[in-house]
C-alpha cells in the first residue's frame, strides 16, 4: 500500500511533499511526543500527530517514515512544509481526531 492509496481511501488533504506519495507504507505510529517517536517509530510507518513544528520533519526523515498525518484540522508551520518538500515526505491532513483516523488506518491496513 502506498501513501497515495491512504490519501484516497481516507480522504486526506496533501499539504506538501507530494513527490513522496508513492512511498510504501508498512504501518502506523501515533504519538505527540517527538522524543517518543524518535525512540520507537519504525521505517515506513505513517505518523499520526497534532505537532506542527519543523522538528517533526527532521524526525520523520531520521526514522525514514512514509508520511505524516496532522489531525484535527492542524496545518504544517511554513518551515515544516518547506522541509517536507525537500525530504519528499508528504504532510497530510484530516479534520478527524487521532482515535478515529487511527482506527480507519488500522482497518485499511488490515484489509489490504
Amino acid at each position: 500500500m502506498k501513501v497515495s492509496d491512504i490519501v484516497k481511501e481516507l480522504g486526506l488533504k496533501v499539504f506538501s511533499g507530494d513527490k513522496g506519495l508513492d512511498r510504501e507504507v508498512t504501518g502506523g505510529y501515533s504519538s505527540d511526543l517527538l522524543s517518543d517517536v524518535m525512540g520507537d517509530s519504525l521505517e515506513g510507518q505513517v505518523w499520526i500527530t497534532l505537532q506542527t513544528h519543523k522538528n517533526v520533519m527532521a524526525i520523520a526523515s531520521l526514522k525514514e517514515l512514509a508520511a505524516i498525518i496532522l489531525v484535527k484540522g492542524n496545518t504544517p508551520e511554513k518551515d515544516m512544509a518547506g522541509q517536507s518538500n525537500i525530504e519528499n515526505i508528504p504532510v497530510l491532513g484530516t479534520n478527524e481526531e487521532t482515535f478515529s483516523i487511527c482506527g480507519k488506518l488500522f482497518k485499511l491496513m488490515e484489509n489490504k
Binding site: 505527540d32 511526543l33 517527538l34 522524543s35 517517536v37 524518535m38 505537532q51 506542527t52 513544528h53 519543523k54 522538528n55 527532521a58 524526525i59 508551520e77
Partner: protein, 246 residues
Amino acid sequence: MKTFRADLHIHTVLSPCSDLEMSPGNIIAKAKEKNLDLIGITDHNCTKNCHITEQIGKEQGIMVLCGAEITTKEEAHCLAFFETPENLNDFQHYLDTYLPDIQNDITKFGYQLVVDENENIIEEIDKLLISAINQNMDEIESTIHGLNGLFIPAHIDRLKFSITSQLGFVPADIKADALELSGNTSKNKFLENNPHLKDFSFIQSSDAHYIHQIGTVSTLFFMEQLSFDEISSALKSKNGRRVEIR
C-alpha cells in the same frame, strides 16, 4: 568584572503546583540566606507576583528579574524576562489572550494567589495557569523578543515539558538568548549528547516550588553590575560579560 550568583527559575504562590510557603517575602529571605544576588520569578503563564517580589528584593539588596514560565502549544516550557513594567504588562496581556478558558480546580491543582508584601491575598486567578497557551514556540519567541525580552527554553535536559521531550531535540537555529539546564545534569554531560548546541550559553536553575529548593543550583554571572542590560550581555557572552554554571 564582578561575580553575581543567580537562580533564575523560581515559582511563587501564584503557581498552583507551588508550595504555599512561596510568598514573595519568604523567597527573598531564602535567596539572601543562599547568597543569591539575582533571582528570576517565573510563575506558570502569569507575571502578577513579579512586581511585589521585585520591590521586596530591592529593599533587601536582591535583584529580581520579572517574567514567566510559558507553556507553549507543544507543551514545552520556556522562560521569559522583561526589563520594564510596560513590557511585562504587554506580555501579561498576551498571556491573558492566549491562555485557554479552563477553570482551576483548587482541590486538584492547588491555589493560584496574587499577594501583597504582607501575604494578604489580592487576587485569586480563576483560569488554570498550567495549561498550554494557544501559541507555538516560534510565535512566543518572536513576541518576547518584540518586547525586548529574554527568551530561555527551560530545563531542556528534562524528559517532560521540555523542548527535548516534546520536540525531540533543541533545533540548532533556535533564537534563544540562553538555554536552561535542570539540576539533574551538567553542561558537559548534556553537550556530550547534544554537541550541536555547544555555542549557546547555559544557565542552571532550581525551578523551585518549595522554599528549600531555592538556590540549590545556580549560575554565576560575570558582569559590571546588576542591570537588565548587563544580564542580557552576560547571557549573550557580549562585551566580556559571560555566565558560568558551577
